[in-house]
């Protein structure tokens, strides 16, 4: 270890950034916006964060961190516990295994990857929620949520990329 205590604290804070960003997005996504019908079109913000960091810096957002993000999402939205942890971990698993494919590819390819992953994640969420409740959930809201989520992904990816530049390099 080198540097003063402040440098070390700074280093730790930077390493924790992807986790803190993800947890922050969970909090933001449950804030009531009080716009007509927003509750039907709030994008799954944490999913974007999980996808981005799993692809680009999985070393800074390990499975345990993803587990906590999913757990917080389930607790704050009041959904059945375990659904979002399962979905986020599945996204993490897919991203980590496909990281080589996406490495060095253009943003459009990564965006297309997100469209596929988000479709899978929302389909899984729909299936698990319906199975858990024992009745079929209306699929329409999920469809709109999917559209808005993939539409705003580039904006968030840009913010994540800015944050990524400030992070310590891979060991």
């Amino acid at each position: 270890m080198k540097g003063t205590i402040w440098q070390r604290l700074d280093f730790i804070a930077r390493k924790l950034t992807p986790l803190l960003v993800s947890l922050g997005l969970v909090l933001i996504s449950v804030i009531p916006l009080r716009l007509p019908q927003t509750s039907f079109i709030v994008p799954t913000l944490a999913l974007m964060s999980v996808y981005y960091w799993s692809l680009h810096r999985a070393d800074l957002l390990p499975a345990l961190a993803i587990f906590f993000v999913g757990m917080l999402q389930d607790i704050l939205t009041g959904g059945p516990l375990g659904i979002n942890t399962l979905i986020f971990l599945a996204v993490y698993g897919v991203c980590v295994s496909q990281r080589r494919f996406f490495h060095g590819k253009s943003f459009l390819v990564v965006w297309w990857g997100f469209m596929v992953v988000a479709a899978g994640a929302l389909a899984l969420e729909w299936a698990l929620s319906s199975a858990h409740a024992g009745s079929i959930a209306a699929p329409r809201p999920a469809y709109f949520k999917y559209l808005i989520t993939i539409t705003v992904y580039p904006l968030f990816a840009w913010i994540f990329a800015r944050i990524q530049r400030t992070l310590p390099a891979v060991e």
Binding site: M1, L27, I28, S29, V30, I31, P32, L33, R34, L35, P36, Q37, T38, S39, F40, V42, P62, A63, L64, I66, F67, G70, L72, I75, L76, T77, G78, G79, P80, L81, G82, I83, T85, L86, L89, A90, Y92, G93, L122, E125, W126, L128, S129, S130, H132, A133, S135, I136, A137, A138, R140, P141, A142, K145, E171
Partner: protein, 292 residues
């Protein structure tokens, strides 16, 4: 980071990869197990869940305030823009309401006399607890809200939640300073209701779409578009006579209702303690209300 010997690195790196893979599988299985246990007994995680929610309440409360201010400014601007049109509309409505007012007074007097004749004991509401909405699940598959009133304010599981226009849901979980409202359009919500002037009995069942379904309607029930829906009081969770909405669509797939309340725009709600015995003691949210 201190430099480690090369040989150590060569052994440690694959070991770490194996550990990470193991952790991933373990956490995946743990999530599945939590989901299954939570389904088998919804109460086992309730305490832990509300403890975490309680801890986040101040953060959510603080975050939701600037948003509320922003929304209030937009509202104010819209209000100023529409002032003229609104004023003339209100004058017309006021004239109409004055007629209703006198009609209502006559009916109230008559009702009072008739109640006197019958020695009818009215069911009084005991008290209202006002609370601010601090989080909206925003979930496509969960329709619930967090409000900043909890056990210390006297909120209990099962209490109905209303705003001026009508019913929005019931309390399903209570923390010390927050509670969760299960909205009537959630997948798990079942509200016993009566429909229209004939008071046809039905159960209003949410399916996460904007228009909840009316199920268990009698096959010969006469339902009109726009018929008013009110709680029936059956099952004992909701007291009778709270407005819920109107019949909004009827087709081969069944009858659907439109709630009087746009829940996404709510800032304050009222939790009503009617002093009914807590049928849902323990806040078992997965149990639907019994019908008939």
């Amino acid at each position: 980071m201190a430099k480690r010997p090369e040989s150590f690195q060569r052994v440690a790196a694959p070991l770490r990869a194996v550990a990470q893979r193991f952790a991933f599988l373990f956490l995946l299985l743990a999530s599945g197990a939590i989901l299954l246990f939570g389904k088998a007994d919804p109460q086992i995680f309730d305490r832990a869940r509300m403890t975490v929610t309680d801890a986040f309440a101040p953060v959510l409360d603080a975050l939701s305030r600037p948003i509320a201010t922003g929304a209030a400014i937009i509202d104010e601007a819209q209000y100023l823009i529409n002032l003229r049109a609104q004023n003339s509309a209100l004058r017309a409505e006021n004239a109409r309401l004055l007629q209703w007012h006198s009609a209502a007074r006559n009916l109230a007097t008559e009702n009072q006399r008739l109640r006197g004749l019958l020695q009818f004991i009215p069911e009084d509401s005991l008290r209202f607890i006002s609370a601010r909405v601090i989080a909206d699940s925003g979930g496509t598959f969960v329709r619930s809200m967090l409000v900043n009133a909890g056990r210390r304010d006297g909120v209990r599981s099962g209490l109905p939640v209303v705003v001026g226009e009508g019913l929005i849901g019931r309390i399903v979980e209570t923390g010390n300073r927050v509670s969760r409202i299960l909205l009537i359009d959630d997948l798990n919500s079942r509200v016993p209701v009566v429909v229209g002037p004939d008071r046809e009995r039905a159960v209003l069942a949410g399916d996460n779409s904007r228009l909840p379904k009316l199920i268990y309607l009698a096959s010969n029930a006469q339902i009109q578009m726009g018929a008013r829906i009110m709680t029936s009081g059956q099952g004992g969770v909701f007291p009778p006579g709270i407005s819920v909405g109107v019949v909004a669509s009827m087709d081969g797939n069944g009858v659907r209702a439109q709630s009087f309340v746009a829940t996404s725009e709510l800032e304050y709600v009222r939790i009503v303690d009617y002093g009914l015995a807590a049928v849902l003691d323990g806040g078992n949210r997965a149990d639907p209300v019994e019908e008939d």
